[in-house]
Subunit: 143 residues, 3 copies
């Protein structure tokens, strides 16, 4: 049984969805026990309320662009009922997108690696125009 | 390695989003091992299908009010395609909101406390007009 | 402390929401330690980007049909901004629904069984017209 935790900083990215599987895998690979872990769970948690983590297709970048376009029309800026606008018109929609998508994903570990499906990758949802660097806490446990 | 579980009852609240971080933290603090836990995960699970848990901004209450207004227009009552109306017009939208937001959140534990970001709090999404008290199962594990 | 993991195959189902609690419970029951586990967590992870797992009402099937109708109007096919259409008009909406609902659910274990609320069941969201069989990785840990 092992517990490990590491904080990683995702570099600033433009508004939209971004594949960050490589950064997550690298952070996990640096932990001492991953390779010999037979079964476990990796828990990824973003410490922000205007960005999100989700799992989706790791291949065609059009999927990420289409997701951004759908979310922008489903959660529009400058809707007449929005009161929380002091930090800009992108702020409250960012909070809504963050809760719709969620602040964490957890992925099973099997035989020393993330048991993602063939087409699955981890996305950062950057919902602010200028969100800056984002902090993710990676917690690994298993045996 | 420790496992603890406690069931908490959130008092009845009106329809909308409510900050319940304090009640969660109090329940965790009552568990014997939290303070000496270096790393772990707290898992919060709501045993209902018309209420939800999510993480969002812990400061401006307008965020919670704006969230309620967005969800009310995105998942309207009395839509013509809704069949499940026996328990009232607020019931089926409540089920939809519950799945959009989710029935659980999990938060890393670091150095004896929830590793929430500065602006993060735990929200109860109360999606019924008269939902009553809500039960949350808090499971804590770590070392 | 125990860790167990099993991969299950959900049989092909038509597009829509389907109650799969029985298949999940059967997979868990086949694991050696469930019955004597006092406290733990069951983590269910679907290895696909066009299907999802969520928790909702286990009784009236109209809830599942209403959910399908809401998602179909909220995430329409053939929207003018959708570019990722090579695999059919149902593909990109399926990716969006998968992220809105999520690729995993985790449920506390209490006294040897899933601590679901009275009305809660596990749903498969099948978002493709012909999604085929779906793989779910069930990870059980507790003591």
């Amino acid at each position: 049984m092992a517990w490990h935790q590491v904080e990683i900083r995702l570099e600033p990215r433009p508004r939209g969805f971004h594949l960050v599987t490589g950064e997550i895998v690298a952070a996990l690979a640096a932990l001492p026990d991953l390779k010999r872990m037979r079964v476990g769970v990796a828990h990824l948690f973003i410490q922000h309320t205007s960005a999100s983590l989700t799992i989706n297709e790791n291949a065609d970048p059009d999927v990420r662009a289409d997701m951004e376009r759908w979310f922008d029309q489903a959660v529009p800026e400058n809707a007449p009922y929005i009161v929380h606008t002091a930090e800009g018109s992108d702020d409250m929609p960012a909070h809504l997108k963050a809760s719709l998508l969620g602040s964490s994903v957890s992925v099973p570990i099997r035989d020393g690696r993330l048991a993602l499906g063939t087409w699955q990758g981890v996305y950062l949802g950057e919902h602010r125009d200028h969100g800056g660097s984002r902090t993710v806490i990676v917690t690994l446990t298993g045996e």
